[in-house]
Symmetry: C2
Subunit: 219 residues, 2 copies
DNA sequence: TAAATAGTGTCTCTTAGACAATATTAT
DNA sequence: ATAATATTGTCTAAGAGACACTATTTA
């Protein structure tokens, strides 16, 4: 609004999504290998241009579904990256989101089209990513690690029913360090968002663990 | 990256800035009255299209300077608003920032051009703002109120030198409620970011107050 | 009965809120 | 001396970290 001379930059807007899940007890994110220039052959976070009539979040959800087939997830806007020169094709502004996929919904083989897609542990990502995607991932990790401390986003990484040990595994995977079992359980207890079920998970030759469910409508 | 059919939306990107300052002990923000349609006559937060070769933050700083003449400020990206239909002129995506201007730098009469510009107390904003600017302001207030609790952004609203009472006035203006003087001082003390000066502010017939300065490089 | 994992409580330190009296200056 | 604002400390409650033993099940 206002601005007389000096023409506006001609820009394009993409939405990119850092998609997290837990695999083998470790935090992973999804990368796709680029089949075209620029950065052909490099790994990148999924994304694409927004379509007519689509909100930013709808675009992010669409990208997510195209890559994983998963629709019902936690998704949150992260940051918008728009430095000139961040994309050699021109002035491209990227609204970045991050999403959390439940343990049991994350497909083993992601990606719907020919492009190669792979889950990578956040502790061992490929060296050189496309564009400024390393920065975007850094932001996403920072945000996730911060928010798991004072919100209940962490529960979004679990299936509907889980044991307290499984929940702790998720928290440890995100934090990247072991947590004290008793302190962790007290902390979760105080959140007052878990419903204990009359079901137990039995695995191997050990005491079965009670299953819990996240209380609907708790955020 | 990827996307075959379904053409990308044709979009434009603006950068809008919620500019805060303290006036008369109350938190204020800057609004400009729109001289053209859409929303002619309505109050709006300053903003405009990004120019060639300009980063998003540079665009925000430029808008800020055009409206207030102030350059050296705290500025932070807030959120990106992009719902279709939020601007009747077409698909306009707005990257919102908020900025904090020091008490002694905020010009009384803001705005460089013909457009009317005014500082408004956040507790008494005009009823109907242009576009979705009420939502943007809500986000900005929420962010500022959250960040003043666990960062030192609050200091950015003060001049170089100030008394502890003046600092408390700022915190109270942002929080919107009175704070206990002793608890407040202990909390600031623990931040360990204030340098006491050998200067005192004397005002009227009362005990002079020591001046302090924010420790450079503390963020 | 051995192996494996689940489940549980206390002490301590730090943090934050509530709360009131004295100190210093100008008039 | 009075008015006005600055400066200062204690008690208490809640939250968070460190820390180890018992319970239950299957093989």
């Amino acid at each position: 609004m206002k601005r007389a001379a000096a023409r506006p930059a001609r820009v394009q807007v993409t939405v990119d999504v850092v998609i997290f899940t837990i695999r083998d007890g470790a935090l992973h994110l999804l990368l796709v290998r680029r089949g075209i220039d620029p950065y052909r052959g490099r790994w990148a976070i999924p994304g694409g241009f927004i379509l007519e009539g689509e909100s930013l979040e709808q675009a992010a959800l669409r990208e997510l579904r195209e890559e994983t087939g998963v629709g019902q997830v936690y998704i949150e806007q992260l940051y918008t990256f728009g430095d000139p020169g961040r994309d050699p094709r021109g002035r491209i502004i990227t609204v970045a989101y991050y999403a959390l996929i439940a343990l049991d919904r994350a497909p083993v083989h992601a990606g719907t089209d020919a492009a190669e897609a792979r889950w990578w542990p956040v502790t061992a990502l490929p060296k050189r990513l496309a564009f400024d995607h390393d920065r975007i991932i850094e932001h996403a990790l920072e945000r996730l690690r911060a928010k798991i401390e004072y919100t209940t986003v962490g529960f979004q990484l679990l299936p509907e029913e889980y044991t307290l040990s499984e929940l702790q595994d998720v928290y440890e995977a995100v934090a990247g360090r072991p947590l004290d079992k008793r302190n962790f359980r007290r902390r979760i207890e105080l959140l007052d968002v878990l419903i204990p079920l009359d079901q137990w998970r039995r695995a191997g030759a050990s005491r079965p663990a009670r299953l819990y469910r996240f209380r609907a409508g708790s955020f």
